[in-house]
């Protein structure tokens, strides 16, 4: 029983380590400056305020950041997942010469680390005239190798009778995909959508490079600008801004954590 007690203490300690910084963030965001800059620290704010959020919102165009992040995440996820699903379907169900080579060519893209492509992609996007545009932010990221691989592997496990029956009923390929194959692949589809959306929302280095005006920045990049503008002397404002960036993801995680945790581990383990 003594072992159990120790285990519970460790478990509580682990929870504290991961919650501590988040509590520090949230409490500072609603503290008056006087309470932030006080030692020993004020653990529970006496004088709640929403003022920090207003200061952050006024210091940088957070409304634009929100719109941009949302557009990029939604459009980027839809296009990338569509690419994955269509490519995977073609490789699982259609004939084509040199199909194997083509598939290896797609998988090979996983060997190219994203960070290595930054400079050439910047130059390519510049020559397309896409700097500081949604196209420049979204298009370079919609090629899909890993998600294509996951979807194809899943399609090949589906019972052949079902797709055969659909074809006998006269359904074309796209109809079979939409009506039969996709509904049977819902868990894998959720996995792929979750992984993609989280990546798009959190993407930092590409939006940093490819945008150059405040109106086109996304939330994570906007946060860097807020921090640089406020210096490190105004933690209340900066923490409020940080909370604005994190809040949507935290809320989604709270309600859909089962799918997110499941999706990301599934994705990693299947690969």
């Amino acid at each position: 029983m003594k072992v159990r007690a120790v285990q519970y203490v460790v478990l509580l300690g682990v929870a504290a380590i991961f919650l501590g910084p988040l509590y520090w963030l949230i409490s500072a965001a609603v503290k008056q400056p006087a309470e932030i800059y006080q030692w020993p620290p004020v653990w529970w704010p006496d004088d709640f305020t929403w003022g920090n959020f207003k200061l952050a919102w006024d210091a940088a165009p957070f409304d634009r950041f929100f719109v941009n992040s949302t557009v990029i995440t939604v459009a980027g996820t839809i296009l990338k997942v569509a690419n994955a699903v269509l490519t995977a379907y073609a490789f699982a169900y259609l004939r084509f010469p040199f199909k194997k080579v083509l598939f290896l060519l797609i998988l090979g893209a996983m060997m190219v680390p994203g960070h290595v492509t930054l400079l050439p992609n910047y130059l390519t996007v510049a020559s397309l005239g896409w700097i500081n545009t949604y196209a420049g932010l979204i298009i370079p990221g919609i090629g899909s190798a890993f998600a294509t691989f996951l979807m194809r592997q899943h399609f090949l496990t589906l019972p052949g009778e079902v797709t055969d029956a659909a074809a006998v009923d006269g359904a074309g390929h796209l109809r079979t995909l939409w009506r039969v194959v996709l509904p049977m692949s819902r868990p894998m589809l959720v996995t792929v959508v979750v992984i993609t959306a989280v990546e798009e929302w959190n993407n930092f280095v590409w939006p940093l490079i490819v945008t150059n005006t405040a109106e086109m920045r996304t939330l994570p990049v906007g946060l860097l600008i807020l921090k640089d503008e406020e210096g490190l002397a105004n933690w209340g404002t900066i923490m409020a801004g940080t909370l604005l960036v994190l809040a949507p993801m935290l809320l989604i995680f709270l309600f859909a954590q089962r799918y997110i945790v499941g999706g990301i581990t599934q994705g990693a383990l299947k690969g």
Binding site: L25, L94, R95, T117, L223, V245, I264
Partner: protein, 316 residues
């Protein structure tokens, strides 16, 4: 990754023998056309934004270009010679290896320890597991900003943790001895919950019989863990090792927000110096050279992974 090469299933269109060969040829053509239509957009984006950059980098690495002049000047292998003999580059490599090594070791050891803890029959373990995973899906830039405040020597959470032990809190991010360990702490805090979850899935998938048999033979908990569970988890450890190395080599947002490669060059990793040379110093040739070097290093890592995975599949 294991590519299980299942043959594509024949669509009944192909199985049903069409009446004439003309009809069959038309069907085949239509199928080829549909295939091309479905695959082309993906393949095009991959070609332009994943493969072309390697060729482009290779070319740029042989040139000198400030990205303003009309065209790059060909300089042969100068960039490689200059880079590989530059003490600053050696320092960068050292920092990158230290950063990666600390994070790989930390995340595997702590991740496995957490997984073992989460595998005990404890009330609330599911909740703590979820809490520890949450930082993994949060924006790296935002997590870094939180930790800048946590590390604040005057009013940060760390001061409250360190002072009771009678020690003076360091000025983490402005101190060249503490900045790198500070980044490692942040990176581990963000990602160790993911490692733990993967290890937990591995632990729960282990066959119970071996463990039970060993227990009957009188093997203690630690012996069973070391002699049975740890070796059986080796494939998962290997997978995590490789993916962590690849991820950490490209770590950028946490460094960009917290240190910008500083103080001095104390946290200048290969990934930061690619950004710095390309987008702050506008030295395209140098940035491309560093990119090719990073690509080569990670290619070796992924090739080792592919080899090992292949062998495992063969011996099974």
């Amino acid at each position: 990754m294991t590519v299980v090469d299942l043959p594509a299933r024949a669509h009944p269109d192909e199985v049903r023998q069409p009446p004439g060969t003309d009809e069959r040829r038309r069907r085949t053509r239509r199928e080829y056309g549909l295939f091309a239509l479905l695959v082309a957009p993906n393949l095009l984006v991959i070609a332009v934004f994943a493969y072309w950059p390697i060729v482009y980098n290779a070319w740029l690495s042989l040139t000198d270009w400030n990205m303003i002049a009309a065209r790059p000047t060909f300089v042969g292998l100068d960039n490689y010679v200059n880079t590989l003999t530059d003490p600053a580059f050696h320092k960068t490599l050292g920092v990158t290896v230290a950063f990666t090594g600390l994070i790989v070791a930390g995340s595997l050891v702590i991740g496995l320890a957490l997984a073992v803890l989460f595998n005990q029959p404890l009330k609330g373990r599911g909740l703590v597991r979820t809490i520890s995973f949450a930082p993994h899906i949060l924006s790296g830039a935002a997590v870094a900003t939180i930790w800048l405040f946590v590390f604040d020597p005057g009013y940060g959470l760390m001061r409250a943790l360190i002072e009771p032990f009678g020690a003076e809190p360091p000025d983490w991010m402005n101190n060249s001895d503490w900045a790198l360990p500070g980044l490692v702490i942040v990176y581990l805090w963000k990602n160790v919950g993911f490692t733990a979850l993967i290890y937990l899935a591995g632990l729960q998938g282990l066959p119970k019989e071996l463990d039970e048999a060993a227990a009957i033979d009188g093997a203690g908990t630690w012996t069973r863990f070391r002699a049975i569970k740890l070796p059986l988890l080796a494939p998962i450890s290997f997978f995590l090792l490789i993916t962590t190395v690849i991820g950490t080599f490209q770590a950028f947002d946490v460094i960009a927000v917290m240190t910008g490669g500083g103080p001095g060059d104390a946290t200048t990793t290969l990934s930061w110096s690619i950004y710095n040379e390309g987008f702050q110093a506008f030295n395209a040739g140098r940035a491309a050279t560093l990119s090719i070097i990073m690509f080569a290093i990670l290619l070796v890592v992924t090739t080792i992974q592919a080899r090992v995975m292949e062998r495992r599949v063969h011996y099974r």
